[in-house]
Symmetry: C2
């Protein structure tokens, strides 16, 4: 995963990659005391296997569409949609279009 | 502030309000154990006075453009741009266009 590591107050562009998405990689935008934010890049047909994160997370679809499977329930997240998951919840992701998503993680002390 | 209170895993639409922005209000999308997420609505010319939040926050401009003043430094955040601030940092916001923004707050225990 590429690392950008923005500083506090630094403006980060998260507009859609569009045509250049397939040449982009998942990037850590920053990790600070309480929050970690990354931009997930998942070309159509690619998946993240089931995994869990200790803290709560939000997943915001920036472009494309992805299916989230959370504790056996599937739903599709399109561009302009957001959801959150409690910490420790097993989830997997499958991109049904070329997709990028903003993932915000609450860091558990 | 209107309260929506999404549940975990519930899909929330945060696409631009566009023409109906001026009839929308700032809304709390959810507040859970570690994170609070709200959608700030600020019509052109309106401001939030200097304030601070205990935990770290991200501010993502969903539409429009806003000037953030953070510890004496001003910068403009346009749609598709994001920044984060450390907890306790005094900041103010002034909308230079009809603006909505997603604000994610790390809840400090």
């Amino acid at each position: 995963m590429a690392i950008l590591h923005a500083r506090p107050g630094e403006v980060v562009d998260i507009s859609p990659f569009a045509d250049r998405l397939t040449s982009e990689k998942t990037t850590a935008l920053f990790k600070s005391a309480d929050l970690e934010v990354m931009r997930l890049v998942l070309p159509a047909g690619k998946s993240l296997p089931p995994h869990r994160v200790a803290g709560e997370i939000t997943i915001q679809c920036l472009e494309g569409a992805m299916v989230l499977r959370v504790e056996g329930n599937e739903q599709t997240l399109h561009a302009g949609q957001l959801l959150y998951l409690r910490g420790g919840v097993v989830h997997s992701v499958h991109a049904i279009e070329d997709t990028s998503a903003l993932v915000t993680v609450a860091l558990v002390k």
